[in-house]
Structure formats: structure tokens, C-alpha cells
Symmetry: C2
Subunit: 174 residues, 2 copies
DNA sequence: CCTGAAACGGACCCTGCAGTCCGTTTACAA
DNA sequence: TTGTAAACGGACTGCAGGGTCCGTTTCAGG
């Protein structure tokens, strides 16, 4: 990819992103940059050189996860059972979310979407297809599905995420 | 009630509570005490004399609302259609929550429950009764219902709260 | 090596906010 | 009216966290 960077810079960039992912994922948007820098074994000036703003760093971390979920979505789209594809996708995406509870709060904090245009589109297709197939209720817009699921997982008191998700998914069925 | 207070103190106490309710209700737990004091037309020292800690103030505000919801619950318990009672109650409670979106975040912030023991109990009865009557799915614990509904409303992008609630309530039906 | 540019990291600045203190004001009772 | 205890409110403190600066270190090409 972008390898216009000096070797040490590249290395530190990765360390910072890893640390940030871990920290934000565990504790949400309120972790301090100092904490992240400490985790990364780096001065906090170094963090700010790469990401002029705390929010920029958060965006970057979220983008990584969004990319992951996006591949889930495109895989699901290649399945030929629309209903099953949708619910399986939701399951997998939720799984990922459950492993990094703090990131939800970050997403909320960011007025949503860093680089989610593509995911948005794939997701919409996925939902629309499932609705056409009669597997998902019609009175809901594709864009609302994500927030709803995220909300359920957010409120789930650790360990209960699965059951909360089930309730919401059942609520989405036609 | 507690009228061991000088007249002006009593008056200011109410102003502070009103202002805090409005501020927390609108913007969540991050509003500053200064802002609340300003809204109440009071020095912020006055706020701290009554509520030694910001969290204490938040508790007080939440307690008010909890009391309100508790009366809803006890009214619902006196109805003789368990299913309808439950879903009506949820509707009314949600209505109240929707009018003060920031308060949810406060509740989350407070590690839950300030004075919710009674509500907890009434709510549990309400849910259990509805489950016995076959109106609500059995694989959910009464204590989980509140958080689930709160979550859906939290994630709803203003105006959509109603639809989100419907999804969750449908998910709860047997 | 040697050298210049790039990267480093911690000292530093600044803002915002929770919580304290104390001199002044106000309610109320005698 | 007046004395006093309660209440007031704003100045002040301490701290945490975001963001900047710059002297020092490290990489990489010649």
C-alpha cells in the first residue's frame, strides 16, 4: 500500500493503530491519547503527527472494522437464499461487534459513517433482497437495521448479547 | 415533604432539579454543572451544596423519572389483560423516554438503577404475567426487557423511535 | 562514514470542568 | 429592628486531556 513511509514510521503507525483498536474497542471513545500512546510504546507526539486529531485516529480504527464487515456483506450477497444470507450476515457482523464493545460508542460518537458508503450500499441490497423474498418485514428501511442491531448489542450486559440480538432479529422477520 | 429547608433554598433546589432535568434530558451526562447552574439562574456553588457530586444530581433527576415510570407500571398491573397491559406499559414508558433522550445515557453512565428496586419488581411481575399468559416469549428474563427497549430508543435517530420500538416489541412477542 | 531529511517523544500550553472556600447576603424568629 | 444561622455565588484550585513545539535521534542514500 502506502509505503512512502520510513521503516520506523511504518512500524509505529501499525503499533498505534493496533493499540488504538484495542483501547477503543475495550473502553470506548473516552480513552486518552496518552493511554493509547503508552500502549503502543510511543510518545504521544508521534500519534498526533500521524493523526492530527483524536477523531482522525478513531475514524481510522473504525474504517478497519467497517472494511471487515463489508467483506461479510459482499460474501452474503453471493448467497442465493436472501433471507438466510441476511440473518447469517447479521450474526457474523454482531459477532465482530461483540468482541469490541467500545467501538460501538465510537461509531456513535462520530456521527456515524467514516468510510461506510460501500457497506451502506451492500447492506441495503441485502436487506431489500430479503424483504422482497418475504423474510424481513417491509416497514423498515435498510438504513435502520444497522443502528437497531448495534443498539441491542450496546445495551447487552456482556454475555447476553446473543439473546438480545435474537430478539431484535425476530422482530425484523416478516 | 422535606420542609426543613429555608424558603429560598427550597425554591433554588427545585430550580436546579428542573434545569438539570432539562439539560441532562437534552444532552446527556456531559453537560457541565456550570451550564445547569446557569440554566437554573444560580451560582454553581449552590448546586454543589445540595448535590455534593455531579453524579448525585444525576441520580436525583433519574429518580424522578423512575418514580413516574413506576406509577405507570403499577397502573398496568391493575389491568386484567396481562399481554395488553405489558405492551401498553412499554409504550407509555417509551413515550416518556423519547421526550428526554439524554437521560438514557445518564442511566447507562450510572451503572444503572438509582432507586429502581421497586420498578424492577413491578416490571418483573408485569413481564412474568405476560409470559404466563403466552403474550411474551419465554426465553427472556424480565430484567432484560428494560435495557432492550432503552437500547432501541437510544439508537433511534430522532423521530424513528416509534418504529424501532415496534420492532423490539414484536421481537418480544411469543 | 557522513549528512540531511524524516521521525521521534516529552515538555509545554491551554481549555474546560469538577469540586472547595469564604466573604456577602438573606430569611426568619425573637 | 436586629442578631444569627443558613444559604448564596463567584473566585479559586487541581487535574485531565487534547494539541503544539522543538531539541534530539534515527533512517537511508551517497
Amino acid at each position: 500500500m502506502t509505503t512512502e513511509l520510513r521503516a520506523d514510521a511504518q512500524r509505529n503507525l501499525e503499533r498505534v493503530l493496533d493499540a488504538a483498536e484495542q483501547a477503543f474497542g475495550a473502553s470506548g471513545p473516552d480513552v486518552s491519547i496518552d493511554e493509547i500512546a503508552r500502549l503502543a510504546g510511543v510518545g504521544h507526539g508521534t500519534v498526533f503527527r500521524r493523526f492530527p486529531t483524536k477523531d482522525d485516529l478513531m475514524y481510522a480504527v473504525i474504517e478497519r472494522h467497517v472494511a471487515q464487515v463489508t467483506t461479510f456483506a459482499s460474501e452474503a450477497l453471493s448467497s442465493d437464499d436472501p433471507g438466510e444470507a441476511f440473518f447469517d450476515f447479521a450474526q457474523r457482523a454482531a459477532e465482530l461487534m461483540l468482541s469490541t464493545p467500545g467501538l460501538h460508542k465510537c461509531v456513535v460518537h462520530c456521527g456515524e459513517k467514516p468510510g461506510a458508503a460501500e457497506l451502506e450500499e451492500l447492506g441495503s441490497k441485502l436487506v431489500a433482497r430479503a424483504q422482497r423474498a418475504g423474510a424481513v418485514r417491509r416497514d423498515i428501511k435498510p438504513a435502520e437495521v444497522g443502528p437497531l442491531i448495534r443498539a441491542a448489542l450496546l445495551a447487552a450486559p456482556s454475555g447476553q448479547g446473543r439473546r438480545y440480538l435474537d430478539v431484535v432479529l425476530d422482530g425484523l422477520r416478516a
